[in-house]
């Protein structure tokens, strides 16, 4: 189950401005990946390129043997049926109520009877905790509810790949925690490939199997969660630990003077690596690796205190 996404040498620019270049990575089938990056590094552009809404300048995106970057319109519409996408604001159709919104893909793509549609829609609405809100219009509900409704709609066709565009933006910490748990539970349940674009480090530290970091118009690093969390690479280290010391500046990268001024400063030690978020039934997901496995296999000593609690090194509760 789940489908692998192979991205090779992908480059995208708008006019003369390069967004990112030479991005090469493989999103493994059935795993949860997080794509991180400072604001304005083209994370959403990356997501839109993956679903073929934007054409890259060069490179390829292979999904089940089809190259999204160069395939025909017809093939694109076919391959998109594998995808479920949660847009930043949910992107609900404003003229329909939530029920019709979630039922929309079923009515367009399947020949299911109205009672079957109802059954599936109600199941998905229950999954995201929106039972009882079916008759509301998207304009009448909060941003968090719109997001969950968007998730229900993304899941309704049983996708093989689910893409999340900043699922945690504009949500309070409690709802974010619930949403993260929901994402993990969903992955355990449907085994689809998940790719989450975010800049919330708590999400990035606890949810995924793999992390990627977009920075300064290229992919700085992509690999298993423990690899990035134990990495000494300055950009990765600065971003994943939300520090001011490091190559990332307020506007873009820091200039030579600023970096020279920081040269003497001692970096704070790496915080401990938290445990990965388990599905709520306690049974590990199929793609989940035992805590500390990667570090042992690669001879990396994790920071002291790692793998002891699920909120180690997180922003609020260290």
């Amino acid at each position: 189950m789940g489908v692998e996404i192979r991205v090779d040498d992908l480059t995208k620019s708008f006019g003369k401005q390069l967004i990112w270049g030479d991005v090469t990575l493989t999103v493994p089938a059935g795993e949860i990946c997080v794509m991180l990056g400072p604001s304005g590094t083209g994370k959403s552009v990356f997501l839109k390129t993956l679903i073929g809404l934007l054409k890259p300048d060069k490179g390829s995106i292979i999904i089940e043997g089809t190259d999204i970057a160069s395939c025909s319109e017809r093939e694109l519409y076919e391959i998109r049926k594998l995808f479920g996408v949660l847009f930043q604001d949910g992107a609900m159709f404003g003229s329909m109520n939530l029920y019709d919104n979630v039922a929309f893909p079923l009515r367009e793509h399947t020949r299911k009877s109205e009672s079957e549609v109802r059954e599936i829609v109600m199941e998905k609405m229950d999954l995201v905790g929106l039972l009882g809100a079916e008759d509301k219009l998207p304009g009448e509900i909060s941003g968090g509810m719109r997001k969950r409704a968007g998730l229900a709609r993304a899941l309704v066709l049983d996708p093989e790949i689910v893409l999340f565009d900043e699922p945690d933006s504009g949500l309070d910490p409690v709802r974010t925690a619930f949403l993260n748990q929901l994402i993990v539970d969903l992955n355990a349940q449907i085994d689809a490939t998940f790719l989450i674009v975010t800049h919330d480090i708590n999400t990035a530290r606890t949810v995924p199997d793999n992390i990627g970091l977009l920075y300064h118009r290229h992919l700085a690093m992509f690999g298993p969660r423990e690899q990035l969390l134990s990495s000494e690479e300055p950009v990765v280290r600065q971003f994943l630990n939300a520090q001011r010391v490091g190559p990332i500046g307020m506007s873009e990268e820091k200039d030579a003077d600023e970096l020279a001024a920081e040269a003497g400063q001692e970096l704070p030690p790496l915080p401990p690596i938290p445990l990965q978020l388990d599905p709520s039934n306690g049974i590990p997901r199929r793609s989940q690796r035992p805590a500390g496995e990667w570090c042992r296999e690669n001879g990396v000593t994790p920071p002291p205190g790692s793998f002891e609690s699920s909120n180690a090194g997180l922003a609020p509760g260290v």
Partner: protein
């Protein structure tokens, strides 16, 4: 420098090309099943509901002005018996399709551009494409057909209201005789005049809907972008309509010989 200059000079041609490519996409979407009957009926009703009343209100003075102008002029020639015919000719051939077009573009087209533009900036169109549904086939084709249908019927309505308005003004204000006005209808006007009026209305409806959809679907830059798209779509539609009207009129006058000429 020279490349940027030439690319800037050629930009309008690129836009025209994109618009034409969009029209071809719509044409292709026309034949793709399933046809969105529900959307088509809803849109037809919507466009009709926003255009019928203003069109009727515009048609009366349109017909009246033509009747007064033509009536005054024709009196000086001493050819009052042709007043009815001249006003029918002017209303059916020119005034009705132009009046229809202005309202279809101003009321219907702006509503379409605003609707699609809002959907575009809320990422609804992206969401639709990601759900494997082509917005051109799902949203644009029904709107284009609805616009053409409504334009077709509105044209009939403007013709009737315009001629009736002309009758009232001619008979009451200019002391024309009802019999002469009605009897001269067929003296100069002929059946093909009606056909060209209807064809024009269809073409104008097509242009208005395609430009409005194109502009709406390419809106960007937030709410202001939607406003700009609506504004541009109305202006561009007006320009195109007058050019199209000129071309169609020229062809018609060449192909169909005027009656009694």
């Amino acid at each position: 420098m020279s490349t940027s200059l030439s690319s800037r000079a050629l930009a309008p041609i690129g836009v025209a090309g994109n618009l034409f490519a969009f029209a071809l996409d719509v044409f292709r979407g026309l034949f793709r099943r399933p046809f969105q009957l529900r959307e088509f009926i809803q849109q037809s009703w919507f466009i009709a509901s926003v255009t019928i009343v203003p069109t009727a209100l515009v048609a009366i003075p349109f017909g009246a002005v033509i009747a007064l102008q033509v009536g005054g002029l024709i009196k000086q020639f001493g050819a009052q018996s042709f007043t009815g015919s001249a006003s029918v000719l002017a209303v059916v051939q020119q005034a009705a399709p132009i009046g229809t077009a202005l309202l279809i573009a101003g009321a219907g087209g702006s509503a379409i551009a605003a609707d699609l533009g809002a959907r575009k900036i809320r990422e609804e169109l992206d969401a639709m494409m990601v759900l494997g549904i082509d917005p051109i086939q799902r949203l644009v084709v029904p709107r284009v057909l609805a616009c053409m249908l409504v334009a077709f019927f509105l044209n009939g309505m403007v013709s009737v209201v315009g001629v009736a308005g002309g009758y009232v003004f001619n008979v009451i204000l200019q002391d024309g005789t009802p019999g002469a006005y009605l009897a001269s209808f067929t003296a100069l006007a002929q059946l093909p005049d009606l056909w060209i009026g209807l064809i024009k209305a269809l073409v104008f409806g097509l242009i208005a809907a395609i430009v409005a959809s194109y502009k709406g679907m390419n809106a960007n830059g937030g709410p202001k972008g939607v406003g700009d798209a609506v504004n541009e779509s109305v202006v561009i539609t007006f320009l195109l309509l007058f050019v199209a009207n000129f071309v169609l009129s020229m062809i018609y006058l060449q192909v169909v010989p005027p009656k009694g000429g």
